[in-house]
């Protein structure tokens, strides 16, 4: 009979950050799974204390390189909510476009650079064969799609990573309208190309199903920035009530905390968003992605990849609609008048719900703050999925299992820089 022995797998690749995994097996049962996020703490929730509200968004942007725009916009939302600032319609549209640029670039990096090599049985996108028409095309599609998101974010925010122009109350610099047609052309070019990859993610090459709960911010136009929170538990709540449903779970072996929702593990991210709100996807995306959208709702974590690909198309379609009529008028950011207050910001970051609660003092400095990132909310669910995956495939070889675990974790698209870097598996096997 085949027996698993102790295994150490170091540094799982093609994810954002580092983590270790320990799996303890007794007989054919997994007794313990410890998903240890091992990115060293940088103490941002302590560092924000005493910071001026105008400096805070740029500081928290540095929590995460890949989703910096999400941290920036969520912090701004929390501060503006606290101070009852109603941003202008133009500011709202520009923030929306900035967020879509992030979704396009961030999802494309995950799908083409991290996930796609598994589907093509390659070690890396660097191994794609330029002599093969298909692989050459996919490689260059990756660059075109990523670049479209990058250009959109750079146009609005000044940079795609740590955007410089957004601030509390508006923008310090507005985009040059003369560049609009260039952005539109790049987005249209990317839209054509994404359909080659979406067919691959829709093939059901990999499957892993386990019933769980889902939560997402939902809006009529699937905008990622505002709306009501919906969970598969059946409730619908405003952003301000989300923390009442969250249970903080200390995970002693991990640099990150875990969270439960209404005392149960849950999943956030693109799969949750499509499961709970696919009806709100842009009408043009609905029309062209009908057969892909028919796969949702689903409990198959690998469909998170398909969901991300659909979200890229949606983000392009909605951006093109906004850009079609967008005019830029000169306006100054709203003047901020500090007061003692507390504000909550909840947005859909690329990997799922991002929560900020900020307490501000009379002089406009942060007294205290709480930040809940998507990967922390998925952490317990990832462990439960790995337990089932290993038990379902206990007769497979260690090498096969390790690869399967890596792919499953990659499907979650974890951001370990946010959550507190990847993967070292320690297997502990007892025959009794």
């Amino acid at each position: 009979m085949h027996h698993l022995s102790n295994i150490t797998l170091k540094n799982i690749s093609k994810v954002e950050g580092k983590a270790n995994l320990r799996v303890k097996i007794k007989g054919k049962k997994v007794k313990k799974v410890e998903f240890q996020i091992s990115e060293y703490k940088r103490f941002y929730t302590w560092a924000i204390k005493g910071k001026n509200i105008n400096a805070l968004p740029q500081l928290v942007s540095r929590i995460c390189g890949t989703c910096s725009i999400a941290h920036l916009l969520c912090a701004i939302e929390a501060i503006e909510t606290a101070l009852s600032i109603n941003s202008s319609e133009q500011t709202k549209l520009l923030r929306q476009l900035l967020m879509y640029g992030l979704i396009i670039r961030d999802h494309a990096l995950h799908l083409y650079f991290f996930a796609l090599p598994d589907y093509l049985e390659k070690d890396s996108i660097l191994e794609f064969d330029e002599g093969s028409a298909r692989e050459h095309q996919l490689l260059h599609d990756a660059f075109t799609v990523k670049k479209a998101g990058n250009l959109l974010s750079t146009w609005i925010g000044g940079r795609a990573v740590h955007a410089m122009f957004p601030k509390v109350g508006g923008f310090v610099k507005l985009p040059d309208i003369a560049q609009k047609s260039k952005i539109i052309n790049q987005l249209k070019s990317a839209r054509e190309k994404i359909f080659r990859a979406i067919n691959i993610f829709a093939e059901d090459k990999f499957n892993f199903e386990r019933k769980t709960n889902y939560a997402a911010l939902t809006s009529f136009d699937f905008n990622f920035l505002e709306g009501k929170l919906i969970s598969s538990h059946g409730w619908e709540i405003p952003e301000s009530e989300y923390e009442n449903h969250l249970e903080h779970v200390i995970i002693p072996y991990s640099m990150s905390s875990g969270y439960k929702l209404d005392k149960e593990p849950y999943r956030v991210g693109a799969l949750a968003r499509l499961n709970l709100n696919k009806k709100s996807i842009h009408s043009k995306t609905q029309k062209d992605c009908q057969r892909y959208l028919a796969k949702f709702p689903s409990s198959d974590i690998y469909l998170n990849n398909l969901a991300q690909a659909i979200e890229i198309i949606h983000s392009i379609d909605h951006s093109l609609e906004i850009l079609d009529s967008l005019e830029i008028k000169e306006e100054q950011p709203i003047i901020v008048n500090p007061k003692k207050s507390t504000g909550i910001g909840v947005i859909e970051a690329p990997r799922g719900l991002l929560f900020y609660k900020l307490e501000i003092d009379d002089s406009g400095h942060i007294r205290d703050g709480q930040i809940v990132v998507p990967t922390s909310q998925n952490q317990i669910n990832i462990e439960l999925d790995i337990k089932k995956l290993v038990e379902d495939n206990i007769e497979r070889s260690q090498i096969e299992l390790e690869h399967m675990i890596e792919m499953l974790i990659r499907a979650y698209d974890p951001c370990l820089s946010c959550a507190s870097h990847f993967l070292k598996v320690r297997w502990e096997k007892s025959q009794i």
């Binding site: 540094n11 690749s13 093609k14 994810v15 954002e16 950050g17 580092k18 990115e39 060293y40 703490k41 940088r42 103490f43 302590w46 560092a47 204390k49 500081l59 540095r62 929590i63 995460c64 390189g65 890949t66 910096s68 670039r105 990096l109 650079f113 070690d123 890396s124 996108i125 660097l126 191994e127 330029e130 490689l139 660059f143 075109t144 990523k146 670049k147 990058n150 940079r159 795609a160 990573v161 740590h162 640099m255 890596e406 820089s417 870097h421 990847f422």
Partner: protein, 163 residues
Amino acid sequence: MALNSKKLKIGWFSFSCCEDSTIMFTEMLNDYWDEWKDKIEFRHCKVLQRTNVLDDIDVAFIEGAITSQKDEDEVKKIRQAAKKVVTIGSCATTGLPSGQRNNFDPDTQKCIQHLIDKFSQSAQVKSIPEVILVDERVPGCPMDEEKFLEVLNKYFKEFKILD
């Protein structure tokens, strides 16, 4: 300039940081892939490939600050495996912002000490040049793209990838 068949063997490493410069590097591939594909061999680049080796590296690009003895030992191994070492981004070059805890007031230091102890983090966060000898520095948060290209092109010439 003529291109040799020889490639520049690089490693890309991340320590404690937000990995913004890694993202910038993956974005630079959008525009520079065709130029670099015949000039660069990725010996170690965890964000792009599953199989990585820590030996025979011409240039190691290191992002992030050093926040534990374990990382200090690892970065010393990278120095031994690489002919040239380049710091990438602000955290690697100056230690900040990842090393912001070095500047916390004593009360805040006291509050976080149990976590520093629990996860065996060093008393002080260090920049890469505080731990090993570096040959070039690319500052910026995220890294300065122009400076990165200047350093990379310098090494293409120095390692005779371009005649």
